[in-house]
């Protein structure tokens, strides 16, 4: 039987983290291929519903990358994201999903290394947690 | 004197102890020197208050513990009231005294006091001095 390979949806803001991911590429830094990227203008575009939809569709982890505090291209979008993520994490727990499956990280356009390391660590973590439970399923460990 | 700066010494346990007892972050200091400028007794100190902060940032705690400075400080709070970074410098001085006092090291030995003026001394003076300086 094949080892479990997690599926991860990554939402990256166009200005910082997407550019950071590009830099990881031009620097040829290797990381696992489990995460697939959806590019948004700003991390604040990501609706909690999208995250819930991803979990419902079987995403084992969801990653959100935004600009560092104070660097948001749209001034305060990343703060809004942070607030939404914090709230959503509490709701996930109630839904039986380990909130650790949702990760928000500030990664700038110059942090290719950080992007790769984040992907390595997050993939490993999710791999250890096992598949996401079906929403409405039993308690998640 | 030579200060050997190294990663182990900076933020060592003694620095943490001073920070714990005083409730202050010695790394807030940017060395403007205002604490020393306003200090009424700095002329009697061997290390000025701003240097106490600087040495603490290097982890050179022993030098301060053995200094005259911490006993000369009379907690008038002029330094604390004017620090632009809000550091309560007097509390840091108190922390250094406290570390010594808890080891039994002090500078007032009640049995060896000069008793010439004893009758004139107000009670608050004796109690103060013993509380701050008797180990």
């Amino acid at each position: 039987m094949n080892a479990f390979e997690p599926k991860i949806v990554c939402f990256l803001c166009k200005w910082c983290t997407y550019a950071g991911a590009d830099l990881a590429g031009t620097s040829r830094i290797k990381y696992p291929p489990n995460g697939v990227v959806i590019k948004t203008m700003c991390s604040s575009r990501i609706d909690p519903e999208h995250i819930l939809y991803a979990f419902q569709q079987g995403s084992d982890g969801v990653f959100i990358g935004g600009c560092h505090p104070g660097d948001c291209h749209y001034q305060t979008g990343n703060y809004k994201t942070q607030r939404r993520v914090l709230l959503l994490k509490r709701m996930l727990k109630q839904m039986g999903i380990n909130p650790e499956r949702l990760k928000l990280e500030w990664i700038s356009a110059s942090e290719g290394n950080k992007f790769a390391n984040t992907m390595i660590d997050f993939t490993e973590k999710i791999r250890n947690m096992g598949p996401v439970p079906k929403l409405s399923g039993k308690e998640d460990k | 004197m030579l200060i050997k700066v190294n990663a182990r010494n900076i933020r060592n346990d003694l620095v943490k102890k001073i920070e714990d007892i005083s409730g202050q972050n010695v790394f807030d200091c940017y060395q403007c020197g205002n604490c020393s400028s306003g200090c009424p007794v700095v002329d009697y100190m061997d290390i000025s208050p701003n240097q106490v902060l600087r040495l603490s940032q290097y982890g050179e705690i022993d030098e301060i513990l053995n200094s005259e400075t911490i006993w000369i400080c009379s907690t008038c709070l002029q330094c604390s009231s004017r620090c632009p970074k809000g550091i309560d410098v007097a509390k840091i001085m108190e922390a250094f005294r406290t570390v010594n006092l808890r080891k039994g090291v002090g500078v007032v030995n009640p049995s060896q006091l000069d008793t010439t003026d004893a009758k004139q001394l107000p009670p608050i003076l004796l109690v103060c001095a013993m509380r701050k300086m008797t180990g």
Partner: protein, 292 residues
């Protein structure tokens, strides 16, 4: 008006004239200091460590007893007691856990301290409760042409959150002096440290500090200075004979408690008993100004 009162040790010893003059002055204002029962030493200095509750005990014990005696507040004359009690009260009521621990230490007291006592310095009461207007009405012997410097020292104005007035440029005592008919003199060293308890171990520090304060007052035209701190009073008054030995050009200045001048202005007779507790003769100046 009855004022619940905490005296502290020194007002029963070297500073008896402080207490006596305060009582007499307040009587002229139809007020009475009512001494609380079973008070003990306040601890004299506030411990500035975060982790040493034992050093707060002396202060809190007084507050607990005051509370048990049904008091809501205590009025303090001595700057040191004021500062120590006020800061201990703040320290202990910021954190319920600390308050609980201190109460456990004081199990002998039977009752617990809830943290309700307010602490005031007499100067604040004079200004806010009795009011300067009322005092002005009652002045019988205006202290005409008496040039007095108000010496605040450290403990009335620092730390800022417990200051009885603006911590860099207070005027509460000057305003009182003006009400009493005296000429208040603002001098640069009025907020400086007198050397405090260094007198015991390094008297040269206190001598130098007191010299600088007195010189600054003299250079600004003061004929006397007033204080509300028995330790400042000791250093500034008693040490003048030592200062004279070290600094030839030094000019002596009498040092009063503010209550002494207040009593005088309100029509109380100057007491020879008070003079005995002074080290620099206070009477000559008062005679020169035809106040006694």
């Amino acid at each position: 008006m009855n004022l619940p009162y905490y005296p502290g040790c020194t007002l029963k010893a070297n500073a008896r004239h402080f207490e006596d003059s305060a009582q007499k002055a307040l009587a002229k204002l139809d007020c009475e200091l009512e001494e609380m029962k079973d008070w003990v030493c306040c601890g004299t200095v506030f411990s500035m460590t975060t982790d040493d509750l034992m050093l707060q005990l002396a202060s809190i014990r007084n507050l607990l007893r005051a509370e048990n005696q049904g008091l809501k507040e205590i009025i303090v004359l001595c700057s040191m007691c004021y500062n120590t009690l006020k800061r201990s009260q703040d320290f202990i009521t910021r954190d319920q856990e600390n308050l609980d621990k201190v109460n456990k230490f004081m199990y002998m007291e039977n009752l617990k301290y809830s943290g309700s006592i307010e602490i005031y310095h007499l100067l604040t009461i004079l200004k806010d409760r009795i009011t300067y207007d009322k005092i002005k009405e009652k002045v019988k012997t205006p202290l005409k042409k008496l040039k007095v410097g108000a010496f605040y020292g450290c403990l009335l104005v620092r730390p800022e959150e417990f200051a009885i007035d603006d911590f860099e440029s207070p005027t509460i005592i000057e305003n009182l002096l003006d009400v009493l008919g005296a000429e208040s003199i603002d001098f640069p060293y009025k907020l400086e440290c007198c050397g405090a308890y260094q007198t015991l171990t390094k008297q040269e520090v206190s001598i130098k500090r007191s010299y600088e304060i007195l010189k600054s007052a003299h250079n600004s035209g003061c004929e006397a200075i007033i204080t509300s701190c028995p330790l400042c009073a000791y250093n500034l008054d008693f040490l003048q004979k030592r200062i004279e030995e070290d600094f030839v050009e030094f000019v002596k200045l009498p040092v009063f408690y503010f209550t002494e001048l207040m009593a005088l202005a309100l029509g109380e007779k100057w007491s020879g008993e008070w003079s005995k507790l002074h080290h620099v003769d206070p009477e000559q100046l008062l005679r020169d100004k035809h106040l006694i």
